[in-house]
Symmetry: C2
Subunit: 280 residues, 2 copies
Amino acid sequence: MRDFSQDHSPLALNTATLGHNIDGYGAGWSPEQVIDACAARGYGGIVFWCREIGTRAFEIGERVRAAGLHVAGLCRTPYLIGREAGSDDEIKASIDMASALGAPVLTIVTGGTEPGTLGLEESRKRLTDRVARHAEHAAQNKVKLALEPLNPMFGGNRTCLFTVRDALGICSEVNVPNLGIAVDVYHVWWDRTLPETLKDATGRLFGYHLCDWLENTSHMLLDRGMMGDGVADLKAIRRAVEGAGYDGLCEVEIFSADTWWKRSPDQVLDIIVERFQTVC
Amino acid sequence: MRDFSQDHSPLALNTATLGHNIDGYGAGWSPEQVIDACAARGYGGIVFWCREIGTRAFEIGERVRAAGLHVAGLCRTPYLIGREAGSDDEIKASIDMASALGAPVLTIVTGGTEPGTLGLEESRKRLTDRVARHAEHAAQNKVKLALEPLNPMFGGNRTCLFTVRDALGICSEVNVPNLGIAVDVYHVWWDRTLPETLKDATGRLFGYHLCDWLENTSHMLLDRGMMGDGVADLKAIRRAVEGAGYDGLCEVEIFSADTWWKRSPDQVLDIIVERFQTVC
């Protein structure tokens, strides 16, 4: 397992940690401010959300690289299934944005249960079809797609993939090299089968997301913990992830409306470095 | 699979459906009112919560049986692990209450992560020890204990068992005949491995709980759906449960602060019968 205590270059910031994924939250820093603040602290990369990028994908990507950082990824396609699924054009546009930004990976949160269906089988079939179609466009643009399983509390309207095993199932069916998964501590920390399941993920692990699961989680979406403040066994999870061959950036993604989004971004970025070195 | 369309005698009411598990909710009916209303509609049984029973366990049990119903179970022991774990005396008292009530099954929600530990292994070891100890007292009192896995959103402070497989793991380790599991639609509907996992549950299935998972769940604890209003494939789940040999009562347990707890209990009880016959 990699030793982060003396080297935090594998650390990436997901800008959701500063409240950037939702209008009206966070300190409202520009992408340029985020880039400079991460570079000054020796972060290795940044993951952006589409809403920050607008029409400036290439420009922001170049700015990241000029600062000596990697664009680690982009969040995310519109939903592929469920009542709020995006159109093919919208999905393609997110792939094109990732490509222009120079983001190697675009995350997919699948969206929820298909209207008029019960259970998950129909939704997963529809998901498989849509992923297969768009994976081709993504490959042409040198973008990898990462299916992210979500904590089962997000069933119904946000996802139909709840475990790493669920997500790997779609990867097996579609079976193209640019389709893989993202593993997020918040969503998988509880899964006792993770070490065993991740053995089948070698070559498919396109992202590893850090935060913590608070003992008392007060809000499903917006009460994630800073690493070290919760009950997830972060080192054990990373051991399993790296055991499956993952050696990429580790992306800190903390949705936290009442705690971290109220702190100054400078403070938050400092604390992340310290926690990354000590508890991750 | 049993046909409920002409026979709803396997239907049981969990009184939480009328708001009876939390002070200040629901219409505040007495146990006697609930018993009479269920008997009048041909329900097969009732599951109570400790807070309704007080010192009247034997009396209420007799009243249920006099009305031609079964006491299907009692909710629940105090937590066995985690920061809010109950004492041995409190756990024994809940077993004694089940015995006096004539409840064949007492449900266990385990409680959360043990203070000072990360991940789940230590918590599960402590849980196994405590379950083993109290299962003996339960057996002496002819009470079965049913471990209920909860949706992973309840990790941290409420449970360390998230899947049927997790719960069966504890059963295997303790390995006594009066320890089994309860399967609740709300907690397991998302689990694609359920049909396969339940094959290992034969002889261990002590309860099956009905409700639905709403497409848009607004509150982790108190926004369960009425059967037929959500996205769970209720018939597929029951097929798997009955495939594992379950032929007992099916217990409707709907925590619903803003919807069903605001309706009149008479209406709610009528709608349950209709849904039980048509969509379960």
